[in-house]
């Protein structure tokens, strides 16, 4: 039994300590009831029900309406949410969750273990591909009694406890879904959860309004009367709305990175970049290994040498996020700091390309590749231009292609690109969020699979071993080995451990108190 296992078991006991940390974050200011928080939702999601739609904006708004069994600290320790405590059997197969008492859904019905079992075993299994990948390992899920739910795995799965955040497995009311097509049930249009804020109104293209749920299970909480998410599609208009005080909080991609320095300079605003540890988004230059000469490891290494990742972090993202060092983000478990990808070194890049037999022609061009720009905003256009310049210095001609989101999604999924930019959440554990990009069994014509076509039997084997090992120490061994191989093989050029700026007025307190940041329920957020 390793130390970490005991750490997991002690989850409930550790909670009071962390709550005091939250209080400290409030800088000694007493929470105050009342007030409406205006924020922004961007882009406007098509459907607001978590699970049925899993876009970031849905999860941010849905995080107020719904709750998961657990939440996570910025170090990814599980904390109680709808489960007040939990136990794991010594063989790592049985997970028992003891639920909070007196939890009600917004329609007044009590939330019981039946709802928990339904949500995990039926609802998320059906609608959410991500949950399905892990929950299909559950052999049996039972409601032991009204307040106890038990899940039995068919084999030990160490990262299992990371799967109970509201963004993965929100608890939904069984009585509104059972016997219906989950995606088309009426409640999908008017979501009902257990969260501190209930859904009131959504005027499409305009705003989403949530109001305080008076029957919330934490006494005297939440503090805010209402949260209004305005739909503002233009990034400069979003910035103006924040500057003029018409909204008090922006998050994720609302404010472009190049506008953040000016926001930092405003005395009434606070800029935070924490609160993304649970997701661990890592951005990279995707390389299509089917395109010559990207199949040559020397060429891939040269590309990695050619890009100054510090510049990307400091000058393009203005210090939001940090330069990537390898395939596992530093906030993700089992990150190995000693496994480092090729450093920025233009001469080394040129030498490698020479060795690969790619000599520059009369214009100094060794070869030409087409780069599909990621259509997620202005900063990615700038990134494309920076990459073109960087690679031109070592004699690689990068031709930029601009497309819209639909085209990008289709062409990336169908391997119709030479290089492109992509970023994926790592969800705290390499098995959950890293493995999928590198194992050959996941080479599919689907977005977020191994679209580069990288295949290495040793890597496949190590990821499988790490997935199945029950002991964290053992898993660390496998993950360290696989990271060392990956930084040598350079299947992709890792660029940036991303973070997103959360910008809010200083009178708004407790905005970031967990590793999931603005996805949290906001039951402790207050205006003072």
């Amino acid at each position: 039994m390793g130390l970490s296992r005991r750490g997991l078991l002690a989850g409930a006991a550790a909670a009071p300590l962390l709550m005091r940390v939250d209080d400290a974050l409030a800088q000694g200011i007493q929470p105050k009831r009342g007030g409406t928080l205006n924020s922004i939702v961007n882009p406007e999601p098509p459907i607001l029900h978590v699970g049925v739609n899993n876009q970031a904006p849905t999860l941010i708004v849905g995080g107020k309406i719904f709750q998961g069994l657990l939440r996570y600290s910025s170090k990814l320790e599980p904390l109680p949410e709808l489960a007040k405590s939990w136990e794991i059997s010594p063989d790592g197969l049985e997970y028992t969750f003891h639920l909070q008492e007196n939890v009600k859904f917004h329609d007044g019905q009590p939330m019981t273990a039946e709802d928990v079992v339904f949500s995990i075993m039926k609802f998320h299994m059906e609608v959410s591909p991500r949950a399905r990948g892990v929950f299909s390992r559950i052999k049996e899920g039972v409601a032991v009694d009204r307040n106890t739910a038990k899940f039995v795995l068919s084999a030990p799965f160490e990262p299992f406890l990371l799967m109970f955040d509201v963004t993965v497995s929100a608890i939904v009311p069984k009585h509104h879904f059972e016997g219906q097509d989950y995606r088309q049930a009426p409640v999908v249009q008017k979501p009902i959860g257990t969260g501190p804020f209930r859904f009131v109104e959504w005027q499409r293209g305009n705003f989403i309004r949530l109001e305080r749920f008076d029957g919330y299970w934490k006494p005297n909480q939440p503090y805010l009367d209402a949260i209004i998410y305005r739909v503002i599609p233009d990034s400069q208009s979003r910035r103006l709305a924040l500057e003029s005080g018409q909204v008090q909080l922006t998050q994720s991609n609302d404010i472009e990175p190049f506008d953040v320095p000016q926001m930092r300079a405003r005395p009434n605003l606070e800029v935070q970049t924490t609160g993304w540890e649970y997701f661990g988004p890592l951005m990279w230059l995707e390389l299509n290994h089917r395109v010559k000469p990207l199949d040559d490891v020397r060429v891939r290494k040269a590309l990695a040498h050619a890009v100054n990742r510090d510049f990307i972090a400091q000058r393009l993202w203005f210090g939001i996020g940090k330069p990537a060092t390898g395939p596992v983000a530093s906030s993700t478990r089992f990150h190995d700091a000693t496994a480092r990808m090729p450093s920025f070194d233009v001469n080394a890049a040129k030498k490698l390309l020479d060795e690969a037999g790619l000599k520059p022609n009369g214009q100094g061009v060794r070869f030409t590749i087409r780069h599909l720009s990621l259509p997620y905003g202005e900063v990615f256009t700038r990134l494309g231009e920076f990459l073109r310049q960087s690679l031109r210095q070592v004699g690689v001609d990068l031709q930029l292609e601009s497309v819209d989101v639909g085209t990008w999604a289709q062409r990336t999924a169908n391997w119709e690109f030479d290089t492109t930019i992509n970023y994926l959440y790592q969800y705290g554990d390499p098995t959950l969020g890293v493995e999928r990009s590198y194992v050959s069994t996941n080479i599919k014509k689907i977005l977020f699979s191994n679209v580069s076509g990288y295949a290495n039997p040793k890597v496949d084997e190590l990821f499988t071993q790490a997935r199945d090992a029950a002991e964290p120490a053992k898993r660390q061994e496998y993950f360290t080995a696989v990271q060392k191989i990956l930084v040598e093989d350079v299947p992709l050029v890792w660029l940036l451990e991303m973070a997103f700026p959360t910008i809010h007025e200083k009178r708004l307190h407790n905005v970031i108190t967990s590793g999931a940041g603005v996805h949290a329920s906001f039951d402790d957020v207050f205006l003072a």
Partner: protein, 328 residues
């Protein structure tokens, strides 16, 4: 125009219009489906995770697993019974989505239309009457500036001035949210929100109408019948109104007809900058998300409006200028 010809004329035009609209619907269908990407892959992309089962489920639910001609046939059948289909992406009937956005769009484009027409024609008439004076110069220069400046830039500058610097007007949205307002106050609130986007959208058309009015009035002012009217002692104001302006109206009506046809389509740029919840943005979002049914619904409505306003414009010609004959 002979009144007896009107029904036959109208009938002929309506048949033609129906054929045109049908052709537009079919063209739109193929155009939209020719764009790479489909709604399922976009939803997968936005969710950050996908598996084969997920994509299959979505495509089956959206009806995308059927051959294209079946999808077209189903859509045409729907349109003929005025059923615009269902947005699976948003789990809502397309007609509901359109109706939700229509009031906002009509309010914005309608007020911009009226504002542009009244102010533009007045400015143009004034400039024509005082041609060569500093009045004329100011109006011409202003019109040129409005005409040449990009809409979104005008919008952002207006916001910087009136919302950020002066804090007089809200910079986005259509109404204050989360405050209870009585009828009159609510109207006032919407009005305050309407000023900046209305102005932004209207200014371009003000410029168009001003330039058009000025040019055609000056052209007409040189004609023999104006000289005759002046010679027989008709007062100057009456000459300008009855003889010059009225004869200069035809091109203005033509242009107003075009603009009116776009009223229902909204304006993507202005709606985006001011976060105005109109149809233009609905269409733009639908395009990016490949929400085929919604996009075709918007196209269908706008094409019907354009066809109707073309017809109205033609009828109006005949009223304003008796020389115009109606012929099918």
């Amino acid at each position: 125009m002979e009144v007896s010809k009107l029904p036959a004329y109208l009938a002929a035009r309506l048949v033609k219009a129906a054929i045109v609209v049908l052709a537009i619907v079919i063209c739109n269908f193929f155009l939209i489906h020719a764009a790479p990407g489909d709604p399922a892959s976009i939803i997968a992309g936005q969710s950050g995770a996908a598996d084969a089962k997920f994509l299959e489920q979505l495509r089956a639910q959206f009806g995308l697993d059927q051959p294209l001609y079946v999808q077209l046939w189903l859509y045409l059948k729907g349109v003929l019974t005025l059923d615009l289909g269902f947005s699976h992406r948003q789990q809502m009937p397309v007609s509901t989505l359109l109706w939700e956005r229509l009031p906002a769009t009509l309010l914005l484009t309608g007020s911009a239309f009226v504002f542009a027409l009244v102010v533009g024609v007045s400015m143009g008439a004034l400039a024509a009457k005082r041609v060569g004076t500093w009045w004329d110069s100011i109006i011409t220069v202003l019109a040129l500036v409005f005409y040449a400046t990009p809409l979104f830039w005008v919008g952002l500058m207006l916001v910087l001035l009136f919302s950020v610097a002066l804090e007089w007007l809200p910079s986005f949205g259509m109404a204050s949210v989360g405050v209870e307002l009585s009828g009159f106050q609510a109207a006032l609130d919407v009005g305050r929100h309407l000023i900046l986007p209305g102005l932004t959208l209207g200014l371009f058309y003000v410029a168009v109408y001003a330039r058009l009015t000025r040019a055609t009035m000056l052209e007409v002012a040189d004609q023999d019948f104006v000289r005759t009217a002046r010679a027989k002692g008709v007062p100057e104001g009456r000459i300008q109104r009855r003889h010059v302006l009225r004869n200069a109206l035809l091109p203005i009506i033509t242009f107003a007809g075009i603009q009116a046809g776009q009223v229902i389509g909204g304006s993507i740029l202005v709606e985006t900058v001011f976060a105005w919840p109109g149809i233009g943005r609905l269409a733009f979002d639908a395009l990016l998300a490949r929400d085929y049914q919604v996009l075709m619904g918007v196209f269908f409505c706008t094409s019907v409006m354009v066809v109707i306003f073309n017809l109205l414009t033609d009828l109006l010609y005949a009223i304003v200028d008796p020389r115009v004959e109606m012929a099918g």
